[in-house]
Amino acid sequence: MKSTMLKLLASLFALSLIAAACGDDDPVEDTSADSGDADALAAAEDALAAAEAAKEAAEADAEAARAEAEEAAAAAAGGDEEVNPLAGTAVRITGPVRSPDEVAGLMGALDPFAEANDMTIFYVGSADWESEINVQIEAGTPPDISIFPQPGKLADFANSGFVLPLPDDVTASVSEHWSDGAMGFGNVDGVQYGVPDKTDLKSLVWYQPARWEAAGYTVPGSLDDLWALSNQMIADGNTPWCIGIESGTATGWSFTDWVEDVMLRRHSGETYDAWTSGELPFASPEVSGVMQEILDIWNTDGMVFAQGGTIASTSFRDNGEPLVNGDCFMHRQASFFSAFFPDGTPVQDGSEGAIDVFQFPQGDTDPPIVLTAGTLVGAFTDRPEVWAVMEYFGTPEFANLRQAAQKEAKGGGDVLSGFNTANLNVDRSLWSPLEQSFLEIMANNDVRFDGSDLMPADVGAGTFWEQGTALVNGETTVEAAAAIIDASWP
């Protein structure tokens, strides 16, 4: 019996010790001390003064460290090997970038920076990033940096104080490389929160020039010409468009892209901005008219080849093959769609069956505006190494390295990498001729960001997709859909 007692004593000892160790960092309650322990108070003030002095000294140090960090960041591409304030630090990045090629590109740009600075950069890509980032923030464990595909989400987080504003020097150095329009996507009420790191051109139509030539078609110059050409193709017994809007839980976004592109062509940039910011309702004649125009086109007999039977059941990814096989003549999709063509598809080499693009024709707007999308990075923690990485995301070195790595991952040579950027100072010769033309289009035109990504998630990733899908599937009318979308605007 004594022996069991001994064991009990031991476990009891453990319990009490754990209880002692269990205490959390409880914040001190606000107290108003009238109780006069004058000596203690005086001593406290002394201690505090000492602390302030120490703090100032520390701040000065930190400032110096920051300055050094920036120098190092700038020198990183050159591979300077000085004593580095970033050495030994770690930065955690999350984002929706997940495909092997894209991750290879991203890491191909981040790893050299990390190596040059003797630091560690973790990247975690997730298919469910949209939900996960919410949960991580709620749980108080956000990453240091996250890649945002939607400026709307960045703005949400900025407004609730989770994403931190860029320090002025970072903003200044990043804006050297980006146009005001591109920087504006990361700007919330005049404060810069995001650094753009990747831009996709959305106003593009993919086609096969050789087949067009054989059929005697020419690239149309206006939206009306495009519709006329489509009808001409039907009359000739051809199917003009490959369209599919299925995309798992994001089904419907291809339709919203069409709406945005046609909005920019039928109406002005200001109307577009009013629409994406919620001032112009979906029920307005402008927006409803555009939605109806697209539905009318899509619902014309013989207009659409849908690989999966119906537009709504065809994955947006499945439109590359029929275009190459000649089942349709045109496919309107963003620049990143080059990744979805079957392997070995010739691009712009003049051969028969080669794929090329033309710009989605301009409408009445002057100057012409192109629709873009892309990603921005935002920071959740305030540390010198985090800001150094943030700044690096905006540099042309990052874009060049990423392009080189992504092209390598795709097989090297003159392939389409799928990585495009509106960074003004990149080395364009790294891109294939086709993608060089994307970069030029983005650099030379006024740009607008994908509207559904600018709207609040309830709308942009919710009812707009959902009702758009229902519209395409013939379940509802434009009027009813617009009413539901407007009602969901928070």
């Binding site: 453990a14 205490g23 109780s35 203690a40 703090k55």
Partner: protein, 736 residues
């Protein structure tokens, strides 16, 4: 571990007086102690491990310590009956050590003897180090810092717990002793001493601004209330103990909860600590020694509590707390900040997403449910069922009235099923959809499972193979099953071959029934061959029915078969079967079915089928076991009485397995109410297939609308609650 104690008891004769101490046990005790010591050291150094190592380390420590506490508590209770005083001493030591440890751990008290230093975190993130606890409090009053950490030597960490163990141990041991005066005096004295020590070391910010009058007053009120309640409930034998406990509670409230903290004097603080603790000591010293019965009942209850505690703790933390929180957030706004009353529920119930009456009436105002073929087919079948029952009764008894047979019941059930479908197909929205899912999948899976269970019994040595095949989908995850069915349902553009099995079959059937027509791949003869085969089967069934009619036997099965084959025959004869489209020029083109998107609202049923496919195996296995448990004597008696196979089943087997059937039904019902994965993977909630469990995830975590999302979760809870209550009620009935 109790076995260890028993070993000692049996193998060592002089153990009864507590003198035994065996080598083996000593080793075991030492190993256990060392293990715990190692864990403690590990927990102190855990910060130095990597992130992954730290997490695994913490998990390991938590699991081991939980196990040790669990085993230890059991041992403790085993000891309690043998040596009451030692048991009390141990409990006192644990409580004392834990209590003092918590005080120190939460930085409520300063260091006792060892030096300690405090690191203060100022508002702007700077830290300063202070050695005197009084200084900490003083800084707190002028600079509003947050107390980050207090660092002190090894002794500084454990001096408080050790003191608590010693004081609590002595106090507890004495309460188990025989001498009444000692029993009363010692714990009270220890309470006073503990209070003196704690009060003297309490940090300034915790000092209560109280007085002896308010403490005593609160103690008297507390004692009066508790004693009064005890008296009213007839617990007169423990009246004094209860009153003392009430006084301790009252004194604690009066000393700590009512006054302001942080402004009190040292004397008031000491008093506020001493009075409740002394009262507590007095209360535990008061009772007479326990008698054998009392100990036995204590033993029983303590063990039940020990064994239930882990499970109950987990359930509370993981289930009850989140459920209550969800209910609370359903009354708050989208960021869970402001109270908005029933606004979320109003928004939910009035939205067309949740409940959509738009298709209830057609454009011309007619009720769509009346124009649906399903309605009329359902009504027809119900009437037909009653007609069959009437005719059976009339042939047997020559009276008016109904005599239901399995055929008539089956017809009525199918009719009711179709009628329900007719209603679900015009009332749309996530809420009716969820109910539709629960209705269809529960009935479908249970009925099919029952049929499989009954039929597989006749399969002889193939029974296990058949059952395994039916059960196999249970082993597939919902996501996996959805992907499988997604591929089967998938249509392709008609210019190519269909890759989805169902569309391939459907298009091929259309092609076949148009054999010979322009646009079909088939020459004319295969269609005639199929017609010939179908005709032969039809004739065979006809003869069978005629024979049965002549012999006055049942022919329900043959009739159903004849109806199906006859329908196929007519469809192919009229070139009307399968997926096709006749073009203007008369040629035929294939037409696919977009099961997941286009056939609304019945695309829901195609999704439900996936879950039926999964759940049938579950229902089959459980019901099969129940059927096998039906006593053979009962069936034999029924056979001797001349009951047919179906009569045996409906009148003997079915009543016997009813309780099991109830369990299967409710289990599936609850599972279906929560269905999420299938909808997520198949359609992502588009095309009118959204259900509550899917919608609330989107609403809460994608749109971050916590309020409405929680309201949806509460609605699911309300749907499931009656089923659970019914289940619990049934279980209790079965027990009593």
């Amino acid at each position: 571990m109790t076995a260890v104690a028993d070993d000692t008891a049996t193998e060592t004769p002089d153990d009864a007086d507590g003198g035994g101490f065996r080598f083996g046990n000593r080793i075991r005790g030492m190993v256990l102690s060392l293990l715990l010591l190692g864990l403690i050291l590990a927990s102190a150094n855990i910060g130095q491990l990597g992130r992954l190592g730290r997490i695994s380390g913490i998990i390991g420590i938590v699991v081991t310590v939980s196990a040790a506490v669990f085993v230890g508590l059991n041992l403790l209770v085993s000891q309690a009956r043998r040596d009451w005083a030692v048991y009390r001493g141990l409990v006192g030591a644990i409580l004392g050590g834990a209590g003092f440890g918590l005080l120190r751990g939460n930085r409520s008290v300063g260091a006792l003897v060892a030096d300690s230093e405090f690191q203060l975190l100022l508002e702007d993130g700077e830290t300063i180090v202070v050695e005197d606890q009084a200084l900490v409090d003083a800084i707190a009053t002028i600079a509003d810092p947050t107390l980050l950490e207090f660092a002190s030597g090894w002794l500084g960490l454990i001096e408080w717990p050790i003191l608590g163990v010693v004081l609590g141990g002595i106090a507890g041991y004495v309460t188990g002793s025989a001498d009444r005066r000692l029993r009363l005096a010692a714990p009270t004295l220890i309470g006073l001493v503990s209070g003196w020590v704690i009060g003297g070391n309490l940090l300034f910010r915790n000092r209560p601004d109280t007085s002896i009058v308010s403490i005593v007053l609160a103690a008297v009120i507390g004692a009066a209330i508790v004693a009064g309640v005890s008296y009213a409930f007839g617990k007169r034998d423990v009246l004094v103990e209860r009153a003392l406990m009430g006084a301790a509670f009252g004194a604690t409230i009066g000393a700590w909860l009512l006054p302001d903290l942080g402004t009190g004097s040292l004397a008031a603080t000491r008093l506020a600590c001493m009075v409740p603790l002394a009262l507590l000591g007095l209360r535990f010293g008061w009772p007479e020694g326990r008698d054998a019965n009392g100990m036995a009942s204590f033993d029983r209850r303590a063990r039940a509590a020990i064994f239930l505690a882990p499970a109950l703790t987990f359930l509370t933390v993981n289930l009850v707390v989140p459920a209550i929180r969800t209910i609370i957030t359903s009354f708050l706004d989208r960021d869970s900040e402001e109270f908005v009353g029933l606004d979320n529920y109003e928004e939910l119930v009035t939205s067309e997403r949740f409940l959509d009456w738009r298709s209830w009436r057609g454009e011309d105002g007619t009720l769509n449910v009346l124009t649906s073929q399903l309605t009329w087919l359902g009504i027809f079948l119900i009437l037909a069922g009653f007609a069959i029952a009437y005719s059976i009764n009339y042939t047997r008894n020559k009276t008016r009235g109904f005599d239901h047979s399995p055929t008539s019941r089956g017809t009525i059930l199918v009719g009711g099923f179709l009628l329900a479908f007719a209603f679900f197909s015009v009332i749309r929205g996530t809420f009716p959809n969820t109910i539709w899912w629960m209705f269809t999948v529960t009935i479908g899976a249970t009925a099919l499972g029952l049929a499989m269970a009954v039929l597989s019994q006749k399969a002889g040595r193939w029974e296990n193979v058949a059952k395994s095949l039916v059960f196999m989908p249970m082993a597939i995850s919902m996501v996996g099953a959805s992907v499988i069915w997604r591929l089967q349902y998938a249509p392709k553009n008609i210019s190519g071959k269909q890759t989805g099995v169902l569309n391939a079959v459907w298009v091929e059937l259309g092609d076949l029934s148009h054999a010979g027509v322009e646009g079909s791949d088939y020459p004319a003869w295969p269609r005639y061959l199929v017609l010939l085969v179908l005709g032969a089967i039809l004739a065979r069934l006809g003869f069978k029915i005629y024979g049965a009619w002549q012999r006055d036997e049942g022919f329900a099965g043959s009739s159903v078969g004849a109806i199906i084959v006859g329908w196929l025959f007519i469809e192919i004869l009229l070139r009307d079967l399968g997926g096709f489209e006749v073009l203007d020029d008369g040629s035929v083109q294939a037409e696919t079915v977009a099961f997941r998107e286009a056939v609304q609202p019945f695309n829901n049923v195609y999704l439900m089928f996936i879950l039926i496919w999964i759940q049938t195996g579950f229902a089959m296995v459980i019901l099969s076991a129940a059927i096998k448990a039906v006593p053979e004597e009962l069936l034999e008696a029924a056979r001797i009485d001349g009951a047919s196979e179906s009569e045996q089943f409906f009148h003997v087997t079915l009543p016997q397995i009813l309780p099991t059937l109830g369990v299967v039904l409710t289990t599936i019902l609850v599972a279906v109410a929560k269905v999420f994965d299938i909808v997520r993977v198949s359609t992502g909630g588009n095309f009118g297939t959204n259900v509550l469990a899917h919608d609330f995830i989107t609403e809460s975590f994608q749109f971050l609308n916590r309020g409405v999302g929680s309201a949806m979760a509460v609605v699911i809870l309300l749907i499931v609650a009656p089923v659970l209550i019914f289940n619990v009620y049934n279980m209790q009935k079965a027990e009593s």
